[in-house]
């Protein structure tokens, strides 16, 4: 499919796929402090007022992940950032019960242009993907580069050139997104139709002028 399998000695680069890397989850409401005299649970706001640094207990799960750091930084930086890879049906829930190839085709090709939060990875036995997978740009993990280089056995492959170029663009699109209210350019009739589906949408000032029967605004 869209993967290639570099030699173990090849340097780490963007698009490399690793298995069994640690994804850490932290709760700011439940910081588990590992003290000399025992464990304590505290809120992060309490902790930051009294400690410069401390040891905490964090849950960790080994996950599959793809290198997001660009090639130059992946060669020289202290740390490497990766995005978690999960099953496609968990990342894009529109596909969770879908078995229709035509619908799946639409989701994978057309929807991928709209939803910039994931990157589709097709199944491939060589890389160990038995299901449709996706990069979840929302979930990142960070590991020390030098130590990851020592664990290059965990690298199962990398994206081929076409997929890698696409991945590079998609990840940059994801991080350059900005929040906006998509209904801002709608006229009153369009906004009315929009609010049927999204009733929480609040009209902007320029959408609040009503148009009378003779076409005048009031």
């Amino acid at each position: 499919m869209i993967y290639e399998f570099p030699d173990k000695s090849a340097p780490i680069q963007q698009g490399d796929i690793f298995v069994s890397l640690p994804r850490i989850d932290i709760s700011l409401n439940n910081v588990l402090i590992a003290g000399e005299t025992g464990e304590r649970a505290a809120k992060w706001v309490e902790v930051i007022q009294r400690y410069e640094s401390l040891n905490i207990i964090v849950p960790v799960r080994p996950v599959t992940a793809i290198v997001a750091t660009q090639d130059c930084d992946a060669l020289h930086g202290r740390d490497i950032t990766l995005c978690e890879i999960s099953e496609f049906r968990d990342v894009e829930r529109k596909s969770k019960d879908c078995t229709n190839p035509r619908k799946l085709k639409n989701i994978i090709t057309q929807h991928a242009r709209i939803n910039q939060k994931w990157f589709y990875l097709p199944p491939d036995e060589g890389i160990g993907f038995l299901e449709k997978m996706a990069v979840d740009f929302m979930v990142t993990l960070r590991v020390p580069r030098a130590e990851l280089e020592e664990l290059r056995d965990l690298r199962k492959g990398r994206l081929n050139q076409i997929a890698d170029e696409h991945f590079r663009e998609r990840i940059s699109e994801f991080f350059r997104r900005y929040p906006y209210d998509e209904w801002y350019p709608l006229d009153q009739e369009e906004l009315k139709a929009y609010k049927v589906e999204y009733p929480d949408a609040k009209p902007f000032p320029w959408q609040q002028t009503e148009i009378t029967g003779n076409g005048d605004k009031k």
Partner: protein, 132 residues
């Protein structure tokens, strides 16, 4: 000579034509007149006493504001005690097994919430029908 050169020449002549003594005198308005100060009488003594009456309490109050080393030390000791108590009571004590259970719950909750967000996102936007 004419034009600018002529003007420059005139200026030069003007500066050089004055003796240094006269220029020093004209450095600014200077009309000092030596008025003799009145000798101090009874009224003057009373006036000074009045001013001293105002200033003395102020001066004394300033002296009392000098940091008291004993007070500082007491405050410092109080702060140390407060901080150590503060650090002792941070959060609440839990057992190792409780910490591990909470850690597990944090992980599962994070995964659950990610899935819930994906569900929310999937409910929005284009809904592809099977007929497409």
């Amino acid at each position: 000579m004419k034009g600018g050169i002529q003007v420059n020449s005139a200026y030069t002549v003007d500066l050089q034509g004055r003796p240094p003594e006269s220029r020093a005198i004209e450095t600014g308005p200077w009309s000092e007149t030596y008025i003799r100060r009145r000798s101090m009488n009874l009224w003057g003594i009373l006036r000074i006493t009045k001013i001293a009456g105002i200033l003395l309490p102020l001066a004394v109050s300033t002296i009392t504001a000098i940091p008291d080393p004993w007070l500082i030390e007491k405050r410092r000791r109080d702060t140390v005690v407060t901080v150590s108590i503060f650090q002792e009571v941070i959060g609440h004590a839990i057992s190792r097994s409780e910490a591990l259970i909470i850690a597990r719950q944090i992980l599962e909750q994070a995964e659950h919430e990610r899935l819930a967000l994906a569900e929310f996102e999937a409910a929005r936007g284009i809904q592809w029908s099977d007929e497409l």
